[in-house]
């Protein structure tokens, strides 16, 4: 064995051997991940490359599989509160909401109007933090270091606001069956209003610093084009679907909570490229601010949790599917109850899983740099995919 042999120890593990059963001399198998700076977490992608061109790509999952679905089956309903937010830690409140609302619908628990408004406000704030982090991390992937510092600046301020009422900064567990755990106060309203005004100014700066940048446009425009047909085939939702031209948003398509009372747009771009997905997220942050401001203006008085909400619910026998719009797409929870104190089966639908599935098809024939750009534009959170 020559010391210059680049295939020295590349017989690989099970996945690598399955990816390329017989060795080829003209291509290189590259393991991108699980410890790679731009796979954001422990996603592993097997690439077969020729020069810098990708011939085939295959994601390998399961490095942070934590059995959240199984845990749901053995824990009682309140014990399971903290689990869904820990799947997608960036938009934790949406998962929290999905779990809580599924149980509420199955049991027919009524949620006070004020609680619904609080949920909308906090969930949208959380959506902005999620998109801000994506924005910074995506530009980090593209080689610009500074934007993540600006986005974290704003993100930290929103987290400060949310911390005061929810008690945590990342994996919020704020919603309860029948409402929320604590009421919001005047200071929260005031801080949120002030920060919304600040954010509007910041978006202008983001646009002039980054979105209009010539180099950035060259890196994202006409890169990673995902036709609508591909999105449909793989069940892609959220900004990926809207970036391909279909204005599908669960908040509008199947209105839940009080979303039908607010006036907001569903941004969609039919360029199908990474720029389309980028612009969808940038616009969505501004739409979220619009929703928050409207909700703050019309915030009703009343209970923040239903006074007769059960502490230890035992839903009747039956099943329910509840879906809502997370930062990454359609979050779904299928809950089957056998009447006991813990669910018979709980199925979590992670939008990132469907969005990642189309990567192998889209990445074919692109450069490694483009693959990084495409992967970033899908906005993956690996714990959510692995669950």
């Amino acid at each position: 064995m020559s010391s210059m042999d680049l295939r020295l120890d590349t017989s690989g593990d099970y996945y690598a051997r399955k990816f390329q059963p017989t060795k080829r001399e003209d291509t290189l198998i590259l393991n991108m991940g699980p410890q790679h700076p731009s796979t954001h977490g422990v996603l592993r992608i097997l690439l077969e490359i020729e020069g810098e061109y990708i011939l085939r790509a295959d994601p390998v999952l399961g490095y942070v599989h934590r059995m959240h679905e199984k845990m749901g089956e053995v824990m009682s309903y309140p014990q399971y509160y903290p689990n869904p937010p820990r799947t997608d830690y960036l938009h934790a409140l949406a998962w929290n909401w999905a779990h809580v609302a599924a149980v509420e619908r199955l049991m027919g628990i009524e949620v006070p109007e004020r609680a619904e408004y609080i949920r909308v406000i906090t969930c949208e704030l959380n959506r902005i933090t999620s998109h801000l982090l994506w924005w910074g991390a995506y530009l980090l992937d593209l080689g610009a270091f500074t934007p993540i510092m600006y986005s974290f600046d704003d993100r930290e301020r929103i987290q400060d606001i949310l911390q005061r009422i929810t008690g945590s900064r990342l994996t919020y567990c704020y919603y309860r069956f029948g409402g929320v755990s604590d009421d919001i106060d005047d200071r929260f309203v005031e801080d949120t209003r002030r920060h919304c005004a600040v954010m509007k100014e910041r978006f202008k700066m983001f646009k002039s610093l980054v979105t209009d940048n010539f180099i950035l446009r060259k890196r994202v425009e006409e890169i990673g084009e995902i036709p609508l047909e591909t999105c449909r085939k793989y069940g892609a939702t959220g900004p990926v679907l809207r970036g391909s031209g279909k204005a599908y948003d669960v908040r509008r398509a199947e209105p839940y909570s009080v979303y039908d009372r607010f006036d907001f747009n569903i941004p969609a771009y039919d360029t199908c490229d990474a720029m389309g997905r980028y612009l969808v997220r940038m616009d969505e942050m501004q739409e979220s601010i619009k929703i928050i401001e409207q909700a703050l203006d019309t915030l009703p008085e009343g209970d923040y949790i239903h006074p007769k909400a059960p502490k230890r619910p035992k839903p009747p026998v039956g099943d329910i599917y509840f879906a809502l719009e997370g930062a990454r797409g359609k979050i779904g929870i299928h809950l089957v109850s056998d009447g006991g104190k813990s669910p018979y089966r709980i199925k979590l639908r992670a939008p990132g899983y469907s969005n990642l599935s189309l990567f192998s098809e889209v990445a074919q024939g692109t450069l490694i740099s483009d693959a990084v750009s495409i992967l970033g534009s899908l906005d993956l959170v690996i714990p959510e995919i692995d669950r």
């Binding site: 010391s3 680049l6 810098e52 610009a144 060259k218 890196r219 490694i368």
Partner: protein, 326 residues
């Protein structure tokens, strides 16, 4: 004893003392640049930057250096350890040689040679070899890709670099750096940047690409190739590459200052201070660019070179020649 010393030609002593001075200069510059880079990055990011070691973190580069010295020297399995450790040395050595021809002031130059510019351009070219060896012997696919990127990038950008330099050389009629600097006046409107604005822009872009600085830092693109050619280097191996990168940046800024910004020429204050001020302004612009722009893609990088820089450089050269001929 004294006779023995007198028997040594004076030229050797000058070179020996000069090299010691260069080593000190490069070391000090690296310390200063590391601190500046981190502080300016902090300023651009709206954070304080290094603040813990010493007042305002001024001892941070020394702490970094000590950390790197103290790290384990690690050779990856299957790597050719001889070539693997030769590469960082090949990288740093030519950078030091480049300084001997640079006129820091009217009376501060180690060797005033007629081929100063050629010497520097020739020696900076050796860096490609070092990066190539480092990438090839690291036994890492990311390093290999980084080395491949570096070779095609450096080879491509050498061409417009030389052509733009030629247009200044034709204008002055000399390769002697001292004469080029002395040929310019003390005031900004007497500098060659006024006569050769296009050459200045082209040269500066090429310098960014040749020194692997952002937005052209593709050989070490950390989000694509983890760390490119120096992925497997730890401790002093990495420090040598790091030092070499900063040394090349300083050399490049010196050349920009001499060719286009009047070198040591300037009103009132002594020439050395003017020279250092100009070099540091160029360096600051390089740092500023790094913390502002995203990275270009590899094929775009080569497209910029072959489709824009080389034709423009040739055009600039032809215009210069036409003006001289008239």
């Amino acid at each position: 004893m004294i006779e023995a010393i007198e028997a040594i030609p004076a030229q050797f002593i000058v070179i020996f003392v000069g090299f010691l001075a260069i080593l000190a200069f490069v070391g000090l510059n690296a310390v200063l640049l590391v601190y500046l880079e981190r502080k300016i990055a902090g300023f651009i990011h709206r954070r304080p930057g290094p603040y813990e070691v010493g007042p305002h973190g001024i001892l941070q580069p020394i702490a970094d250096g000590l950390k790197l010295v103290g790290k384990q020297i690690f050779t990856p399995t299957g790597a050719d350890s001889y070539l693997f450790w030769l590469a960082p040395m090949i990288s740093i050595a030519p950078a030091l040689v480049c300084f001997i021809a640079i006129p820091f002031g009217p009376h501060l130059q180690i060797i005033n040679t007629n081929v100063g510019l050629i010497l520097i351009l020739a020696f900076t070219g050796i860096n490609v070899l070092a990066l190539c060896i480092a990438g090839w012997t690291s036994q890492n696919k990311y390093s290999l890709l980084g080395a491949a990127r570096d070779i095609s990038q450096s080879v491509a950008y050498e061409i417009p670099l030389l052509i733009t330099v030629l247009s200044v050389v034709f204008m002055t009629g000399t390769f002697n750096l001292f004469d080029i600097a002395a040929g310019q006046g003390a005031w900004p409107w007497q500098w060659y940047i006024v006569y050769q604005p296009l050459a200045f822009v082209l040269f500066f872009i090429c310098v960014l690409a040749e020194t692997n600085r952002a937005p052209f830092d593709l050989p070490e693109a950390e989000s694509e190739l983890t760390a490119g050619f120096h992925t497997e280097y730890s401790g002093m191996g990495f420090a040598m590459f790091f030092l070499a990168e900063y040394a090349y940046m300083v050399v490049a800024s010196c050349i920009v200052a001499i060719l286009f910004l009047g070198g040591f020429q300037g009103p009132i204050a002594p020439g050395v201070w003017w020279f250092l001020a100009k070099v540091y302004i160029v360096l600051l612009v390089m740092i500023w660019i790094r913390w502002t722009f995203p990275r270009v893609r590899f094929d775009q990088l080569l497209n910029i070179c072959w489709k824009w820089l080389i034709p423009l450089a040739v055009l600039n050269l032809l215009i210069t020649l036409a003006v001289i001929a008239l």
